[in-house]
Amino acid sequence: MAEEVKKPEEVKKPRKPLDPNSAKYKLGKIASDAFATAIEAKKQGKPVAWVSSNFPVEIPETLGLATAYPENQAAGIAARGAGERMCEVAEADGYSNDICAYARISLAYAKLKECPEQDVAMPDVLLCCNNICNCMIKWYENLSQELGIPMIMLDIPFNPDYEVSDAQVAYVTGQFWDAVHQLEDLFGLKWDDDKFQQVTGFSCRTSRAWLEATAQAKYIPSPFNGFDLLNHMAVMVTARGKEEAGEAMETLLKEYKQNHEKGESTFRAEEKHRVMFEGIACWPYLRATSRGLKDRGINMVTTIYADAFGFDYNSFDEMIRAYCSVPNAINLEKSRDKRIKLCKDNHVEGLLVHTNRSCKLWSGFMAEMSRQIGKECNIPVTSFDGDQADPRNFSEAQYDTRVQGLFEIMESNKESKEA
């Protein structure tokens, strides 16, 4: 698959340079700086950590540890068309093609130590948090063995109950400080409470702006194309604890508000229907998946990511509870209710579910959950098979047929409503 990956709107049209004051420019810069900063730190002999996307960033940020995010790197590699090539490297070493493609790409990178589609600084330590999946544990264990570097495991178990228990908070808190002390010892770093307060402030500020920006989809038409969120999310993953991230997200919010006032949108078509997209993007087919919707006037107005990075908390305990409540760590009922809220708040007319071959946890109770969402919101639900990073598991024809099916139901629902 040698698809050129660019945002759908950008395809082949020469564009005028981005305004450096625009959110898009600022967010793009933060995302690319995230990789460059760690590479630079490495050159200067400073330690670098590879970090799971939902690991408490407050730890490396406060300690001043340079970071790179393997999931983010894998997404970039997949989006630039090298997912299959990297997966094959891992498979040649014996990794089954059933394993999450992010893990395969990352393990391949650990071996090759280069990939022109997205290089990162090689790590000195691994910061693993399994609040999104246990696959992460196995992946990082193997990285630790292959690279001969320490791994710090912050275990946040899947919560089968609706609320986070005090026992879980105590368990995670114990590990949080253990992780801090291990890092202090490993690299001679020093924890600073004032810095921690500052970082948590930034993280909350970024999260608040993100939540509010994504909530602008409440307007009809929506002031933005939901595919924007898939791109901007990289900043939420890698830089939410940084001041400039908060500032950029606030700019995004301002722009979305202005769009609404002016009746504009980054969705460059007439918005005939609004759907929620469930799952990780199919990075190798971003263009095809986006076009399939846009050509039919369907705007993907929201995704669970709109809620996923809402790390807005007022105390240490609340921060721990927030990390215990990320999308893949919560039970069906809580997952469902969050999505129902997003659907209702954003006037969603249909649910498009990506059954992601890579992600057993995300796809494993999606069928039952989306049935319940469809029923509660009285909206049609359609799913398609795909993969976030391995292009071999997606069929454009199936996608198109499924989206067309969803479109037709939404059309007829609209007609009967109007009648």
């Binding site: 059933d98 394993i99 275990d155 026992a167 039952e368």
Partner: protein, 371 residues
Amino acid sequence: MVQDTLKKFHEAATSPRKQMEKYLAEGKKVVLTAPVYTPEELIHSMGFVPMGAWGADMELNRSKEYFPAFLCSIVQSILEMGIKGGYKGASAIVIPSLCDTLKTLGENWKYAVEDIKFIPMTYPQNRKPDYGIAFTKAGYERVMRDLEELGGKYDPAALSESIKIYNKHNEVMRKADEMLAAHPEITAAERSDIFKSAFFMTKEEHTALVEEFLAELDKQAAGAEKIGIVVSGILTDAPQLNEIFDEFGMHIVADDVAAQSRQYRTDAPEMDDPLQALAVKFANMDNCSVLYNVKKPRVQWIVDTAKARGAKGVVVVMTKFCDPEEFDYVMIKKACEKADLPLALVEVDRQMVHFEQVRTNLETFRDMLTF
């Protein structure tokens, strides 16, 4: 007679439903225990009969309404059994969240099988530090509360007693594994029955039967030597698979199978607080794909055990779509290469009817080992 006891193991291993009916008829309540580990001692102490629920070799229909195809067949078939009434009469199922697929089983279970209560067991991965032990204990207490709702009663003295019963069973199972290594005449199929029947009998009964078997085995002269192998994986009970092992003259001299020896390696220590002892047991468990350990000692354990037991090779039996095992496999493969230990990989699942691929792989492997 060895054969008589083997027959009893076979009967229990192949008729879990009958076993369950028997316990229900005796007025007992049955609690199903899903893979890979559950606090069976606790369930037992509260007056229930814990019975292993590792699914069945069957076609999947109804489970497809819940699971996509790329989840392991063990979990798929547990749900299928549940929906189709295969576990009818059980009071509850305890499902731990030790792998991603198991997390989704519990969530689906609530809606797919409403007449059998889902009881989650949340284990920590950082299980050794004090905060990990405390969290394991909290997980047990959560199970306890649910079992109380079903009429169970917690009594520390009863738990201490159950721990003794389970530790004794562990001991006889370890002994069985050791003795079987010296008896090539006991087939792979028979070995599988001995282990599998443990899931469907009370531990008291199973211990007695294993002891009886071992006493007889001890009197029996060891059969002719075969090709010693170590088998590793989650589940290796498929009759066709064991038939192939037997057909090619392979003798399982040790196993690293989750449904077999991994269950029995660790005892709960003797302590004043039996619940604490049970949590410490979990902290001490290791060498398993669903128990975090950055050093992955399991890999070396396989190599060392193969050497110690004089195995000629290692057979990894991969349950298709089991990602914890798929990650470990690469490391096991490397370690075996380094140790000059031949390794074969065969893939199985619970819907498999054609074992030609397995047969071909193992035949090649046999030829390689006997060359």
